[in-house]
Each structure stands twice: as C-alpha cells, then as structure tokens.
C-alpha cells in the first residue's frame, strides 16, 4: 500500500494522535481518559504509520522495541507502588505532593504512565508482527 497521499497524511495523523494520546493520559485523572485509552490511541497512531509506510519505517519512527515498552511500563507501575510501601507500609497506596497553588502531583501519574506504555507496547507488538508477515 504505497500511496503518497496516505503516507503524507499518516505522518500528520501519527503526530496528532500521539499528542492526543498523551493529552488523554494526562487529563485522565479528572476528565474522561487515562492510561488505557491513551495507550490504545497511541498504538493506533503507529498502526496508521505501519499501514502507510510499512513496519520498518514505523519501527524507525518510535525507535524503541515494543516489548521493551511493555517492560518499562510494568516496571513503572510497580515502582509507583514503592513509595506507598515505604511511607504507608502498603504497596500501591499512592502518595501525593500538594503545592501551595493547588497543583497536585501523585504517584498515580507514574502508575497510569505504566498502564499507557504496557497497552501501547502490547498492541504495537501485535500490529508489527501481523503487518510484518504481510510485507
């Protein structure tokens, strides 16, 4: 499937969807969204690239091996539970930092990023493997 129009649009969509996926991940805690949906959208963005330009160029675009993404995601999710284990003696009890201006930062963000990466990497491996067979 080599079409210049599709290929050019795919690049645009790739960046747009990747940005949207990160936005979905970020807003998840207060608005609809979160790591799971974010990861799905991110996987979609790369899948479009793979569909348009083939798997090698999509791999080149994200550089990291999808299975490694899964691993990093799992590690992040586990690590995000450690502060709770130390401070509260309870694994995965999330800890929060509150700033004077009302801005809050919690370990939930790290956990959700882990979910995002696992889903992203997981679907990506599926997509890559299946499309590799085709081309």
């Amino acid at each position: 499937m080599s079409s210049i129009i599709f290929s050019a649009m795919a690049r645009l969509f790739f960046w747009a969807m990747l940005a949207v996926s990160i936005f979905i991940l970020y807003r998840g805690h207060d608005e609809p969204g979160g790591g799971f949906v974010g990861g799905l959208v991110a996987a979609c963005s790369v899948a479009i690239l793979a569909l348009a330009d083939g798997v090698p160029s999509a791999r080149g675009m994200i550089r990291v091996h999808p299975v490694i993404l899964v691993g990093i995601g799992l590690v992040l999710a586990i690590v995000s539970g450690l502060p709770g284990l130390v401070l509260d003696a309870s694994f995965l009890t999330h800890q929060w930092l509150e700033f004077p201006n009302g801005f809050k930062l919690g370990t939930t963000m790290i956990f959700d990023l882990g979910v995002y990466l696992v889903v992203f990497g997981g679907f990506l491996s599926l997509v890559f493997r299946l499309y590799e067979e085709v081309s």
């Binding site: 805690h29 608005e31 979160g34 995601g73 929060w96 939930t108 997509v127 493997r129």
Partner: protein, 776 residues
C-alpha cells in the same frame, strides 16, 4: 546467635560457598566446610541450655495479615536434627570435595552449592515452629534433592530418578500443605507449639480424619514408606556424597520428624499409632526382602535405609516413653553408621568403577582405612556390643515389649533386624575382606578428604557405644523428652542385664549370620523370582505417570485439534453451561422491568442499527463485510455508553473497535476475500443453536439484573472518596489507578506476558521455509 540469623547465614552462605569453591582450587571444599562446622558449633552451644529442658522461641512477622511468621523453635528433638544436619553436612562437604577431585571446578562448586542450600532447607524445616514456614523449607528440600539426584544430568536414569523423587516427595508435600491449611482453618493458628497445646480441639475437629491422612501423605512420601518405598532406591542415581547426606542421614528422616512432632498431638487417636505400626512394619518387611534382591552396592544400602525408616515409623506408632528413647537413639545410630557406610561404598565404587556388590572383593588391600571404617560402622549396624547400634536395638525391642501392641511387630522386627545384620555383613565383609580374586587393582587409593567422613562417623559410633553417657544426658534425654512431651529419665547404657531384649538380640545375630553365610545363594534364588518386580517395584508409579500423560494427550487432541471453530464452540458451550448452571442454582428467577415510559427514539434507532449489523455479520460470505458489520455493533455500544453517561467506557470502546479493525485488516490481507462455506448444514444448525442459547442467556441475565434495585453503596463510596482521598474527579480512572491499583497491576502484567507470547508465536518463519512456502 539468633536461630533465624543462623538460617539466613546458611542460605547466603550457599552462594558464598559456590564462589569460594569456584576460585579456591583444592582448598575450596575445606574452606566451604567451615560454614557447616561453624553452624554445628553454634547449635552445640545451645546444647547446655536445651539439656536442662529449655526451649528457645524466636519469631519475626512475615505475612502478618495471614498470621504467618518466621517462627522458630529449638528443643531437644530439633537440636538433635540440627546437629546431625550440620555435623554430617561438614563431613559430606569434605568428602564431596575429594569425591569430585577430578571433576571441573565449575561442577564441583555447583555440587557444593546444592549441598549447602539443601542444608539450609533442612535447618529451616526442623527449626520451623510455623507450619507454613516448615512447608516452604520442606518443599525446598525436595527441589534441592531433585537437583542433586539429577546432578549427572547427561545420564537418562539420573534424570528419570530425579523426576520420580520430585513428583513423589513434592506431591506428598502438597498433601502436607493441604493438611496444614486444614489445621490452620480449624485452630486459626499455624504455630506448631500452639497446635500441640490445643491438641484436644484439633482431635475434636470434624476434619480430623482428613488432616491425619494428608499429613501421613506428606510424611510417608518423604520417608519412602510403603506404598511410596520405590523412589528411594531409584534415587541412588545421585552422586554418593548426596546419597549419604540426603537419602540416608537427613532428608528422608524428615517424614519421621514430622510424624514424631504430630505423635503427641494425635496421642489420643488410637488409629494414628496403629496406622504407623502397620505401614512401618509393611515397609520394613518389603525393604528387607528387596535388600536381599538388590544388585548394586548402594542399592542394598538404600533398601536397608528404607527398612530403617520403617522401623522409625513403627517406633513412633508405639506408645510408652521407651519408644521415644528408642526413636531418638535409632535416629542418631542410623545417621552415624549409614552415612559412614555410604561414604565407604562411594569410595569403593569410585576406586573400582564397579557398582555391583557381587563384583567387589578384597578391597581392604587397597583401601585399608575405608575398610576399617566400614567394619566399625557395620558392626554398629549389626547391633553388636559395644557399639551404639547394640544399645538402640535393645531399646527397640524393649519399646515393642513394653507397648500395648501384640507380638506381630516383635516378629517383624526380629526378621528385619536379622536381615540388617546380614546386610551389614554383606556390605563390609564381602567387598572389603573376602573374594580377593574379584579385584586386581584400583584406579586410585584413599585421600584425606575421602577418609575424614567415614572414620569420624565410625569412631563416634564406637565411642558412643562404649561411653554412652557422652550423649545420654546431653542429647538423647532432651530429645526423647521433647518427643514424649514430658521429661523422662534415660538410662542409655550398654548393659541392661539378662533381659528378654538380650535374648532377642542374640536370636537376631544368629539368624543374620546364617543369612550372610548363604547370602549369594539366597540372592540368586530371590533374583529368579519374577513377582517382586511386578508387585513391589514402581509399576504403580509408572501407571499413574503414564495415565496422566495419556489423559493430557487425549484431552489435548480432542480440545486443541487446530480448528478455530471447535475452540470457539467449546468456549461458548462451556460458558453457557457454567452461567446456565449458576442461574438455575440461584433459583432461575426471571424478571423484566416494565417502566411504562415512552419509547426513546434515539436508543431504539441505535439498537435497530446494531441488530442489522449483527444479522449482516452472520449472513455475509465476505470477511471484510463481516468485520465492518461487527464494527457497527461495537460502535453502537460505544454510542449507547456515551448516551448513558459513561464517557470513559465509550472512549475505550471506540479505540478498541478501531484498533481491532486495524489488526484484523492485517490478517485479512492474506486471506481470500470470499470464504467458501465449509460448514455442513448440520454444523450450521449447531452453531445457530449455540448462538441462540448464548443470546437468550445474556438477555435473561441482563433483564433480570436490571430489574433488581440498583445497589448504590459502592458508587457512593467511590464518588465520595475519590476526590478527598485520591484527589481525582474522574471516579472511573481513580478506581483503576488508585483504589483497585493492584488489580490493574495484575491486568497489565497479563497484557505484558500475553504480548511476549504473541511476539514469540508470530515470529516470522525462517527465510528458507518462507521461500519454500512461496514456491509451493
């Protein structure tokens, strides 16, 4: 030093020992042996306090929410075991260093690592007061035993024997685990000492029979009691140092240890003692019989070990305090002489390369010190004065005569002990002193490392016989008291006067001498028989083993026949059956909520669209049309979620639907656009029936569930807490990442592992195959 610390030193020490053995060359084993020696003297330091009846308790919380802790207890009985484990462990380390002298350092280091690791596991098991901790270490001994039996991994029989011993002992361990859990359920504690205090509650429990059977399952498998007696002789495929340590002196006695611990708890259950006497006696007889038939040097020793374990199990089953003294005395005696004999057997086999007992002879010329050690040890085994074996045999007969059992166990014991006397003669006199013509030369002589172990053990066996007061008050008395449950006075001495026991001993020695004189003829006559192989071997084990494999193969062929439709059909039917069963079990109510309101236009239109999509998917022959049609159903559900206030679900559903189309397209590209219908009319009817049943079930379920008043407690809880405690407005997301974070972690771990599997399974075929496939 704290007991828990000693266990951890031993565990960590195994890793250090591996490094030391790897890089320290010839001195390696001697350095490694410092660790068990250090532990031996640490435990010996407690002997004084334990001797006065003190019991040391320590406890660290491990899983406090389940009431599980690292609880350890050192009393007289566990002290005896720790001293045997670390003392013989020291000698085994030295012996193994010499035994594997010609092996590569890497292999020798590996062996020493497993030996020290095994020692740690043994210490953990006998020190544990917490039953869960005991189970963990118990299974660890099974696993290290597996590694050691299969140490010569290139030999098929070693691998087979290792697997057999693992399946039997670890399987028995699971039975023990079930028993422990039942005890925990009944009493609400896993502490062995507390269980002992509340024994009457346990005996009154409705689970009593199950608990006893399960614990016996664990003990009988570990200690190779009938009908599990077959694995121990097969385990002789292990290198001899491992056989001496695991399969005679220590690990196989764990079953005995467990039974001894539970003996006082189940003292008021007559069937418990009776079962032990019955199974112990059966094991003794069978093993004594098989010892006469065994061909290999180690095989004869192994069968006599099984017989000894039978004696111990029988002794525990007997009542009276003499039985406790006899048990403790025999554990000590047997460990001393049997380990020594295994060492001697190992040296003889190693020096000649001959494993058959009847192929060896006149080795005293080449291995004089080994021969001396073998002679001393076998005299103790034969139960002759002034060796410690004599004292423990006197106690054995006294325990039987004092107990309330009838004369049958006495008869069995006389017969079996006569065979033991004969085995003692056959394994020391014959290979070392008689039949000089059989061996002309040996490959190598004795080295210091090969001699330390057997000589020390044989000397101790003699010394403790001549001077029994060395161990009577310090070791035997506290151990027997701990076993009996109250302090008892032990007169562990050589001369008891002219007693019935002495007469029985004399009878045993006379019978044994007769057997050893006619050993070869008896052996050949017994080898001619065919029925023992069929009845007493491991045929039953193989039947179970092959049966399981056969059942697995059969079910795999049926369920996993490679046809995707069959898989789908099985999953669908199983789901329908399970849910349907649960539905009718819970009363089979059907209700439908009639709201009576006006028909809502938008949802109705959407639902009609979904039905149209479903019908199109079922009817079409084009795969692409089917994908699109199923996609319509998915999008409609997403829209319905959106309209009913679940934007998160809707968003996820949209993304999943999109991705599914993208992924399926990749598969479809390689498939023909139109799939010719290969389903027969009959198959299609079954498909339709299953689909209709599934749809009906979902409809009934959904209608009934929504007719119930909605329980809002969880919803309210999460809506109230999500902002105050988790600082999030989006309740769904807060539940996922915070309240139920552990669930989510489990789920993403599953996604991760599934990814790994997919990555491996869908690996691109090798280029050679790919070209072939393309040409074809």
């Amino acid at each position: 030093m704290s007991l828990i610390a000693l266990i951890f030193i031993s565990l960590i020490g195994s890793l250090v020992a591996h490094r030391v053995a790897l890089y320290a060359g010839k001195a390696g084993p001697w350095l490694v042996a410092l660790l068990p020696a250090f532990l031996f003297f640490s435990f010996l330091g407690h002997a004084g306090a334990i001797g006065t009846g003190e019991v040391i308790f320590e406890r660290i919380d491990w899983v406090p929410s389940l009431g599980i802790g690292l609880g350890v207890r050192l009393d007289g009985f566990s002290l005896l075991f720790t001293l045997l484990i670390t003392g013989i462990g020291t000698l085994v380390t030295l012996y193994a260093g010499a035994y594997f002298a010609e092996y590569p350092a890497k292999k020798r280091a590996m062996f020493l690592f497993f030996i020290i690791l095994f020692m740690s596991a043994m210490l953990g098991t006998v020190l544990a007061d917490d039953l869960i901790m005991m189970f963990v270490f118990w299974e660890m001994t099974s696993v290290t035993s597996f590694m050691l039996i299969g140490f010569e991994a290139t030999k098929p029989e070693a691998r087979k024997a290792a697997l057999q011993s693992l399946l039997v002992t670890a399987g028995g361990g699971l039975s023990l685990f079930a028993g422990i859990l039942l005890i925990g359920m009944t009493l609400g504690t896993f502490s062995l000492s507390e269980v002992a205090l509340r024994a009457d509650e346990l005996v009154a429990s409705p689970y009593l029979a199950a608990i006893i059977v399960l614990i016996l399952g664990g003990a009988f498998t570990k200690s190779a009691q009938f009908p599990f007696h077959f694995w121990l002789p097969n385990a002789m495929a292990a290198p001899t140092p491992a056989s001496a340590y695991l399969h005679s002196a220590t690990m196989v006695k764990l079953g005995v240890y467990l039974l001894a611990r539970f003996d006082s708890i189940f003292a008021s259950v007559p069937a418990f003692g009776l079962t032990l006497v019955a199974f112990g006696s059966a094991t003794m007889l069978i093993a004594a019989f098989l010892a006469l038939r065994a061909i290999g040097y180690k095989g004869v020793l192994a069968q006599s070990t099984v017989a000894s374990l039978g004696i111990l199990v029988m002794l525990i089953g007997l009542d009276g305090y003499v039985a406790s003294v006899a048990t403790v005395g025999f554990i000590l005696t047997h460990a001393l002489y049997k380990a020594a004999l295994f060492f001697c057997a190992g040296t003889a086999i190693h020096a000649t390369g001959i494993t058959r007992l009847r192929g060896l002879g006149g080795l005293a010329r080449f291995l004089p010190f080994t021969a001396a050690a073998a002679a001393l040890a076998s005299l103790s085994m034969a139960g002759l004065p002034p060796f410690i074996g004599f004292i423990s045999k006197e106690y054995l007969f006294e325990a039987q005569l004092e107990s309330s059992m009838n004369w049958i166990p006495v008869l069995v014991a006389v017969l079996v002990n006569a065979v033991m006397v004969a085995v003692a003669g056959a394994v020391s006199l014959k290979p070392f002193f008689f039949n000089r013509e059989r061996i002309e030369s040996v490959k190598h002589g004795e080295t210091l490392g090969l001699l330390v172990g057997p000589l020390i053990l044989a000397t101790l066996g003699t010394l403790f016989g001549i001077a029994p007061w060395l161990v009577a008050q310090s070791l035997v008395q506290p151990a027997a008291s701990a076993l009996y449950g109250s302090p008892i006075d032990v007169s562990f001495s050589l001369w008891h006067g002219l007693t019935p026991m002495l007469a029985l001993s004399a009878l045993v020695v006379a019978l044994g001498t007769a057997i050893v004189v006619y050993w070869d003829r008896l052996h050949i006559a017994l080898r001619r028989m065919r029925w023992p192989d069929r009845l007493l071997g491991d045929k039953g084990y193989h039947a179970v083993f092959d049966g399981v494999i056969g059942a697995a193969n059969g079910s795999t062929r049926f369920f996993q026949n490679g046809d995707q439709r069959r898989y789908t059909l099985i999953v669908a039917i199983a789901t329908i059956a399970l849910i349907g069963w649960a539905y009718f079990r819970s009363g089979g109510n059907f209700a439908i909520l009639a709201t009576g309101g006006p028909i809502l236009i938008a949802p109705t239109a959407l639902l009609i669209l979904a039905v149209a999509g479903a019908v199109a998917a079922a009817r079409t022959q084009s795969l692409i049309t089917a994908v699109v049609a199923v996609g319509i159903v998915g999008y409609v559900s997403a829209l319905l979620f959106l309209m009913n206030g679940a934007p998160d679900l809707a968003l996820t559903q949209f993304s999943v639907e999109t991705l599914v189309v993208v992924v399926i397209m990749a598969v479809l590209v390689r498939l023909p656009t139109y799939a010719p219908s290969t389903r027969t009319a009959g198959e299609r009817r079954i498909d339709i029936g299953v689909s209709a049943a599934f749809a009906l079930l979902v409809f009934v379920g959904l209608a009934t569930m929504t007719a119930e008043p909605l329980d809002m407690r969880l919803t309210e809880f999460f809506s109230q807490r999500s902002l105050t405690e988790a600082y999030g407005h989006n309740v769904v997301n807060v539940v996922i990442v915070d309240f139920r974070a552990l669930d989510t972690l489990g789920e993403i771990a599953v996604v991760g592992f599934a990814t790994l599997a997919v990555w491996g399974l869908l690996r691109r075929r090798r280029p050679a195959n790919a070209t072939l496939a393309r040409k074809g």
